[in-house]
Symmetry: C2
Subunit: 402 residues, 2 copies
Amino acid sequence: MGVSMEWAAGGVTLPQGFRASGVAAGLKKAKKDLALLVSTVPAAAAGVFTANLVKAAPLLVTAERLRKGTAQALIVNSGNANACTGTEGYADAVAMAGMAAAALQLPEELVLVCSTGVIGRRLPLAKIEAAVPAAAAAVRKAGHDAAEAILTTDTVVKEAAVRFSMGGRPCVIGGMAKGSGMIHPNMATMLAFLTTDAAIEAGLLRRALKEAVDQSFNMITVDGDSSTNDMVLVLANGCAGNPVISGPGLEYQTFAEALTAVAVALAKKVARDGEGATRLIEVQVKGARTLNDARTAARAIAGSNLVKAAVFGRDANWGRIICAAGYSGALFDPSAVDIFLGAEQVAQDGAGLPFSEERAGRELAQDPALITVDFKEGDYSATAWGCDLTYDYVSINASYRT
Amino acid sequence: MGVSMEWAAGGVTLPQGFRASGVAAGLKKAKKDLALLVSTVPAAAAGVFTANLVKAAPLLVTAERLRKGTAQALIVNSGNANACTGTEGYADAVAMAGMAAAALQLPEELVLVCSTGVIGRRLPLAKIEAAVPAAAAAVRKAGHDAAEAILTTDTVVKEAAVRFSMGGRPCVIGGMAKGSGMIHPNMATMLAFLTTDAAIEAGLLRRALKEAVDQSFNMITVDGDSSTNDMVLVLANGCAGNPVISGPGLEYQTFAEALTAVAVALAKKVARDGEGATRLIEVQVKGARTLNDARTAARAIAGSNLVKAAVFGRDANWGRIICAAGYSGALFDPSAVDIFLGAEQVAQDGAGLPFSEERAGRELAQDPALITVDFKEGDYSATAWGCDLTYDYVSINASYRT
């Protein structure tokens, strides 16, 4: 990190003025499935949404409400995506947000709404309605409960937070995420909710969020499928008391770096916990002529089924790596490419080197498994994250609903 | 088929004037791995090549030689791709073609060359040199031996042929293909070699090949990875004695339809034999506003890991189908979409219908499993083919080299 910040234990309720809860509403079997997040005061708010043409109802409602750049609460359910549910689904999302507004005694337009789970089934609104009062009564410094309630096939809760200083005031950014299946770059590719007590204008908050997402959630991939429901939201309630960031400059930069750090930490947790994954794959492409070339190639390598299966099998099949870079759309000179698996160089100038299969296999067995590709042509680099492709991925996805 | 033609047993040597052989050169363990294909006279020739930026050496040699539009023979090895092998690899490809030219007593520039297998290892030229004379001595009506020699992880030989009539003369188009891993649309995505005794000018042959490939090999997907070595070649030697097709019109159309029929038959065999696959998935998108929208959506659905795993598990998770169409880039109105699994309609106007899980699961268990998506907006349709994603795919690709 370029700026002075430190990692902290906690998530969305670590910043001042945020409370949350997570309860079991009965949408999933005996698990927490309904989360509330609320700020003591209205907060600057911004979001990034899926690029999928098919957008779930709650996403449409939330995007509309974010146009004003202010929000104060968020209600999220897991177990049902409320996607492909027609005009009834849209009404259900509005109603669900309304339940949270009523229980929290907030204006409806300040409440955002989000769903994740199976596509194409009506939301069981009665179950949610029955559970919202208890969820509202339970809001406290319990970000962990909320982080648990938003999960679907995830195996671990995903939280991250940093402390830093701005305008002489201690500030915190916290976050929670869910991921697992359908994680793919080039859009907000899963659910992530970021909170901060820093004060920043909504327009700059939107810009910082886009910068952060481009380096984090848009650089991870599990299976190449982009969901109808993906979104990343950020709320900045100003409770830290720093002078409001109202233009570019050092303070904006500090904030954007801290936000990116939390986003990257969450994104890596999401990639690491890809369905059936046994380890994280980190792909660094350097020496590219443009940032776009570096990002495109890194994502293609991290997303290749053949590369992912080779990492699972600890098979130093570097041909699949250069092959994925080649079909990615990135421009580079294939005869200049160097490839490293961890510390072991396996290709130089686009051709194979004699290397130790044993050492290379050991490098691929690391968590994370590091793949470095150097185009040796320019100054741009990018890092993407993925996970290995395993028998369990197939097992999980062959019978998700049943 | 719009024109009158009939399927015939056989492959590349069914048309008049083509002979072939397949022998074991020791590149693979105790299996045929070297194929020769030769025409009695020079033939009009055309090719379509991988869109991967990284192109294997033999592909460069063959593309150069095809510029003149004439060729008479082809040598193919499996077991080694001769890709990412630098300038030495290029020289190896030229040398390999030269060995075939010498043994067949043909000018070098009329011999095309092709390799498939592991990337990044030098071709064992001595083994090939030792085997070429026997391969040349063995050429006869043995297309099946050649079709066997070009396979890698394929489980079945892939051949197809049709008989039809043109200019009062009986004509034949035959073909062989190999596929399995790394099969993805938008380029010549595997190896396929087509032969015909029809007479057609090289420019029109090129055009017919592109039309055929766009409806066949570019509409199949196994794992989304496009190889460095993919190519589709066609040789037309004119031995049928029909008047040379030298312009568009009925005869060209007849030829193009027959070529497309053979290409589609081979492409489906390739998709059906995807690594670890238990069945073919056929995705038809109709009612699209443009042909490109129909093709793009069909390919995305057939290529989605989540859809493929759901078919394997007979799980009627239609949300994944509309989701894949949504991120494909195709334009359509999500609230108008109808979806059918076989004969069972599961979604109407973009929302779920009550349907029989049992019947839908039975439809997905068919081979092929048929998925139909109707955008209900226009007149364009397209069909794509893929295979289910299984435990065996992971198993095969976790240890391909070892």
